[in-house]
């Protein structure tokens, strides 16, 4: 159903991105180093064995509004004074849907939730460990814990790492 759409995006990507990004004057590298990259800028990946991954964001010093990722200003009060905050790796399910039909290449079904974080922000997230065929009110407020895993290898051969959540045992 959506394969035409995907082809369209691929065409746009090539037209607008890949070709234009290639510098005209500098020498092309012969080998490109494969990297491990976070799927979104607001996911911090561990840089050493004893470090935990985490999500981060900005908090408005003036009004206290909390945002996922970085911002130019607070969209609630327009203040440009923002602090960087590290979010906890725990959260609670606010709302969700169960996706049974997605874009090509994405296995279904999966639970797509809005997870509230204790710092006052909320994130879009995939939640595993819940039976997608039994959605219901018991999922509201379920305590979940973040973990990371490889999502896919991108066109340049980089490993793309995503964050997901799963229910905390006994919650």
């Amino acid at each position: 159903m959506s394969s035409g759409l995907t082809a369209r995006f691929a065409a746009c990507y090539n037209l607008l991105g890949a070709e234009r990004r290639r510098p005209l004057t500098s020498q092309q590298p012969t080998t490109v180093e494969k990297k491990t990259l976070p799927i979104v800028a607001y996911l911090h990946l561990p840089e050493s064995a004893d470090e935990e991954p985490y999500l981060w964001g900005n908090k408005c010093i003036s009004c206290g509004a909390v945002y996922v990722g970085s911002r130019m200003a607070c969209s609630r009060c327009t203040s440009q004074q923002l602090d960087r905050v590290r979010f906890s790796n725990s959260g609670e399910i606010w709302t969700f849907g169960v996706v049974h039909q997605s874009i090509p290449g994405v296995p279904t079904p999966y639970v797509a939730a809005i997870v509230d974080l204790p710092e006052g922000a909320s994130v879009r997230a995939t939640v595993t460990g819940l039976d997608p065929n039994q959605p219901g009110p018991s999922w509201f407020g379920r305590k979940v814990q973040m973990y990371i895993e490889k999502a896919y290898t991108d066109k340049q051969g980089n490993d793309i790492i995503t964050y997901k959540y799963r229910p905390v045992e006994g919650s």
Binding site: G97, A112, A151
Partner: protein
């Protein structure tokens, strides 16, 4: 600001038109609207053209190249699903201000069999990765599904109540010859249909397709010279999403609709109890039920009761989407807003055929474009 009236409207039957280009769809709607208003393209002083997926392709000028290159100013607008109604509002403002006497707004879109929208990574520098499924979901059935599930959480609304919305709109569509699908389904068929994103099954999601609608606006006193049945634009409001707690994660479709409705009732000097019919943005069954409350048709948390008690069915206290709504009339994005307004106009003039809401004097047309833009127009006879 001058009082502004609609002197004519035009609409294509929604569907898929692989043999036509989008400017031909738009041109047909414009010609029909001009014919209704008793004008020709030589009378038109301004064209506002709404289109989303070909927003960079000068669709408005291409429409004129089909039906009359008179050299008038053309403004092309894009505002997500509120594109067509934003075009109507721009034409309304241009006439209300006194700058123009006859303006035409047209909304057109050609989507073909375009599939699920959203959830892609499309940064021109390749900085964004595809997150769909890996970090939640941004496809439209999920976003509006999550908004419905939030309503379940707050008010105990059920899957069946959402399914009843789709039952109603498909039932209504049978009487609308402009609808893309004119087929009634039983509640069981809707609830047991293929799940897209729980709680929206296939028949609870609007289809993609092609369509166009056009509206001719004039100062009210001038419109009376052209038609015996001018329809007054009593309110034309556009809002964007104000800051709210989770808006940047789960787009809040409620607050900006609530604000637009409040402002529209204030501008029109009426209340929701004065409305005879409503065309609202039922892109998904879950969305419609939320908007009963957002538009003030009932109190907070009473959306489920509205559908259970049949108040929003044709013949009910406040009929909603007697056209079949987006769920069955269709949702060619840029066309939708102009077509909702055209639908209300036909009812207020008593020209809506078998689906006519008898004696309709005041109607409201609501559209929300995710991202977000909301328009509310109140029309009166």
């Amino acid at each position: 600001m001058r009082e502004v009236a609609i002197a004519g409207v035009g609409m294509m039957k929604y569907g898929r038109y692989p043999d036509k280009y989008v400017q031909e769809l738009g041109a047909e709607a414009v010609l029909e609207a001009c014919k209704e208003a008793g004008i020709t393209m030589k009378d038109v002083q301004l064209l506002v053209s709404g289109n989303l997926y070909q927003a960079s392709a000068m669709v408005g000028q291409r429409i004129l190249q089909q039906i009359g290159q008179t050299g008038i100013p053309v403004v092309n607008v894009a505002n997500a699903c509120a594109t067509g109604s934003t075009a109507v509002r721009e034409a309304y403002l241009a006439v209300a201000s006194g700058a123009y006497d006859i303006a035409v707004a047209v909304g057109s879109e050609q989507m073909g069999k375009m599939g699920l929208l959203g959830g892609r990574g499309d940064d021109p520098y390749g900085r964004s990765h595809i997150t769909e499924g890996h970090a939640g979901s941004g496809i439209m059935p999920t976003v509006f599904g999550q908004a419905g599930v939030e309503h379940m959480r707050k008010y105990g609304t059920t899957f069946e109540q959402f399914a009843k919305v789709a039952y109603k709109n498909h039932k209504h569509s049978v009487l609308n010859p402009y609808a893309q699908y004119q087929q009634e389904f039983s509640l069981e068929e809707i609830m047991n249909a293929r799940m897209i994103t729980w709680p929206n099954t296939l028949y609870m999601c609007c289809p993609t397709g092609d369509g166009a609608g056009a509206v001719v606006v004039m100062p009210a006193d001038k419109a009376r010279q052209y038609t015996s049945t001018p329809v007054i634009i009593a309110a034309s409001i556009l809002t964007s999403d104000p800051w709210s707690e989770r808006d940047l994660t789960l787009p809040n479709v409620n607050t900006l609709t609530h604000l637009a409705a409040q402002q529209a009732y204030e501008q029109a000097g009426i209340g929701p109890e004065d409305l005879d019919l409503v065309e609202l943005h039922d892109c998904f069954a879950t969305a419609e039920l939320l908007h009963y409350e957002n538009l003030g048709l009932c109190g907070e948390g009473e959306g489920g009761r509205m559908i259970d008690e049949g108040l929003v069915f044709h013949g009910g206290k406040i009929p909603v989407n007697v056209s079949g709504g987006l769920l069955s009339r269709g949702h060619p994005l840029g066309a939708t807003g102009a077509c909702g307004i055209a639908e209300i106009v036909w009812h207020l003039r008593g020209q809506a055929g078998a689906r006519q809401v008898e004696g309709a004097k005041v109607g409201l047309a609501h559209v929300i474009g995710l991202g977000s833009a909301c328009t509310v127009h109140i029309l009166k006879r």
